[in-house]
């Protein structure tokens, strides 16, 4: 069993929470997510050109890079997180260029050394897997793929093949932090994806409230919340951990009570 498979083997759906590395007091923010009851942590790697993200996460990237956050800083945040939390799965999420800049093998090894369990790379689809996938798998890191409402049945096998840890279903054809998809559409698509793979399916994009998270948790293996948490960091700065703990606890309660 890996840390990721353990997280999805719990008797309740998994709450997956996202914040951006280097935005606010990241170590304290991460601890607050764990204390609030997050089952999986996604740590965003800041990038100058986050073209799949809405305003909340764009701003988080700008704040982080504005403070001079480097790849070394992101890896150090991960390493220290792993020292404090031996069992909580940690996933790096971001864009290809910072991941391949020094070569995919360098990145995979450095992430593995930092105790990272999985990587979500927004702009490496299955067709370009060679750019990152083999290096991650060799280093024992799960490449976590994304499926979307536009992923038709014809390409679904190619998407799930080679995805490890879990599959991230992007509920909305759009960017992060905007509108939520209809629960009927989410349910139908999750069922379709689960027909094509054994790995757990977590649903994200547009999930902001405990009510939404609870509704999705009834039909999926996990729920991803990002922008709503990132907005708390933007609003409360160094006082964010208390707010993050509060919202995470409410989300976790809704997700755990769903089934």
């Amino acid at each position: 069993m890996t840390r990721l498979s353990n997280a999805f083997a719990k008797p309740h759906p998994a709450l997956v929470t996202f914040i951006t590395a280097g935005d606010g007091d990241t170590a304290a923010n991460l601890d607050a997510l764990v204390e609030g009851g997050a089952d999986v942590i996604e740590l965003g790697m800041p990038f100058t050109d986050p073209m799949a993200d809405g305003p909340a996460i764009q701003q988080a990237n700008i704040r982080s890079l504005g403070k001079g956050t480097t790849t070394a800083d992101v890896l150090r945040i991960a390493t220290e997180f792993r020292q404090r939390h031996a069992q909580v799965p940690l996933v790096l999420m971001g864009y290809a260029n910072p991941m391949v800049r020094r070569g995919p093998e360098w990145f995979a090894t450095a992430a593995s050394d930092a105790g990272v369990d999985g990587v979500i790379c927004v702009d490496v689809p299955p067709e370009e897997d060679d750019a990152l996938g083999p290096a991650l798998r060799d280093a024992g890191i799960a490449p976590i793929r994304l499926a979307t409402p536009t992923t038709d049945d014809k390409r679904l096998p190619a998407v799930v093949e080679g995805s490890e840890g879990f599959l991230y279903y992007v509920a909305v054809a759009g960017i992060t932090g905007m509108q939520q998809a209809a629960i009927e559409s989410i349910e139908a698509n999750v069922a379709r994806i689960k027909g094509a793979t054994e790995i757990p399916v977590a649903v994200g994009f547009g999930v902001r409230t405990p009510e939404q998270a609870g509704a999705i948790a009834r039909v999926a293996d996990g729920v991803v919340v990002g922008s709503a948490l990132v907005e708390l960091v933007a609003e409360h700065g160094n006082d964010a951990p208390g707010r993050l703990r509060e919202l995470t606890a409410a989300l976790a309660g809704a997700v755990r009570g769903a089934r």
């Binding site: 050109d49 764009q58 260029n97 800049r101 689809p125 390409r155 759009g174």
Partner: protein, 412 residues
């Protein structure tokens, strides 16, 4: 006119004109580095483009619009007074600045909007820097009656107000982009964000030979009309091919359009001219090939201006059309193979060349081809008088007179 790879003659086995491969790669470069939401759409675009390439009706409509709406073929012009002033090679220009809308951009926009219509898309989006691609896109949208949204960096909206007004006259909605640093690359990010949220009805007309496959290939093919005409016109006028082709490079579409039909002519040398801005020594340039490193941005792998962590840095050039931190992936491949030579020209050198062409030939060039003219001036001197340089005059300079006046200290 034939289209794509079969013209002017079928490429031989080890041709430079066979790229990209079936996965959209030019050697190590190119590809389809996009979010999953867009993947089905770029695959559909490729299928539709293959059908269009094989459809004589598509070719006929494209050719007809280029002839009667754009004004092609553009003239091939022997710049005798410039040649004399330089004292070396004979300089010829492909006059793509005489096209409708004043630049080569329209060739590509015509091709892409015909594809959009074939695909049943009812809404067009595009990004623009200085506004040339925005104006060309707004033009074809007006011509075909499709709604059009143009993303443009907020600062460029201020600086390029005549082009913003042109786009609005043509019925386009111009959206100032304030995300990131509000530059061309941020406008492209915003275009991609719009596209990903509106894939069902929206076609993204990318302005240069970059982005996810098949964009670099189809933009090149639509722009190759420049090189195909030039090849035939050269044969017709002087009975041989030129010794050297020269073109400016931002994303690289006008250069590929000129170069591509000549790639398998071993005696024709080629020179791509990047923007050196204030000089390649510092950070203020836009020379992705000469001053950047390979990486992944906006759907393709190519040379990028970036720091050691892979964060994208801003380009600088006096010419807004060259001011982009990336370059089309086919240029990255042509650089590595050595088939095309690349050089860079500073703001100052481009300004001098701009004035030189005004005075010797009575042509006010855009600042983009002024970079090519500056490179021509450097090379021509050392070439024999019976040698021939062909440069692409890819845009006219009306849009740049305010920038030039400011740099020359003139108030207008």
């Amino acid at each position: 006119m034939n289209h794509g790879k079969s013209d002017p003659a079928s490429p031989p086995a080890n041709s430079y004109r066979q790229m990209p491969d079936s996965r959209g790669h030019f050697g190590d470069y190119g590809g389809r580095y996009v979010a999953e939401t867009l993947m089905p759409l770029v695959l559909e675009l490729e299928r539709e483009y293959r059908k269009a390439q094989a459809d004589p009706a598509f070719q006929r409509e494209f050719d007809d619009l280029l002839e009667h709406y754009v004004g092609r073929p553009s003239p091939l012009y022997h710049a005798e007074r410039l040649s004399e002033a330089l004292g070396g090679a004979q300089v010829w220009f492909k006059r793509d600045e005489l096209n409708h809308t004043g630049a080569h951009k329209i060739n590509n926009c015509i091709g892409q909007i015909l594809l959009a219509i074939r695909m049943g898309k009812t809404r067009i989006i595009a990004e623009t820097g200085a506004g040339q691609h925005g104006v060309a896109t707004a033009t074809v949208c007006a011509r075909f009656g499709l709604p059009c949204v143009i993303y443009m960096g907020a600062e460029d909206v201020q600086r390029q107000s005549p082009n913003v007004f042109r786009m609005k006259l043509l019925g386009a909605e111009v959206v100032p982009v304030t995300s990131g640093r509000g530059t061309l690359k941020d406008a492209m990010n915003e275009g991609l964000r719009d596209w990903v949220a509106n894939v069902h009805d929206t076609f993204y007309i990318i302005g240069t030979a970059a982005g996810p496959h098949p964009y670099p290939e189809l933009v090149r093919d639509f722009q190759s009309v420049i090189g195909k005409e030039a090849r035939a016109q050269m044969q017709d006028r002087i009975g041989r091919l030129p010794d050297l082709l020269v073109a400016a490079i931002g994303g690289g579409s006008n250069a590929l359009g000129l170069f591509h039909p000549f790639l398998d002519d071993p005696d024709v040398k080629m020179l791509g001219v990047e923007a050196a801005g204030h000089g390649l020594d510092g950070d203020e340039h836009a020379a992705s090939l000469l001053g950047g490193f390979p990486g992944v941005l906006h759907g393709n792998k190519t040379y990028l201006l970036q720091d050691e962590d892979g964060q994208i840095t801003e380009g600088h050039s006096i010419s807004a059309g060259l001011d982009y931190p990336g370059i089309g992936p086919e240029h990255a491949w042509l650089k590595d193979t050595g088939r095309v030579e690349y050089t860079a020209i500073t703001d100052e050198e481009a300004l001098e060349a701009f004035q030189l062409l005004c005075r010797t030939e009575g042509i006010i060039p855009a600042l983009e081809p002024s970079h090519a003219i500056a490179a021509v001036a450097k090379r021509a001197k050392d070439m024999p008088k019976d040698s021939v340089i062909l440069a692409n005059l890819c845009g006219r300079g009306d849009k740049d007179i305010f920038t030039v006046a400011e740099r020359l200290g003139v108030e207008i």
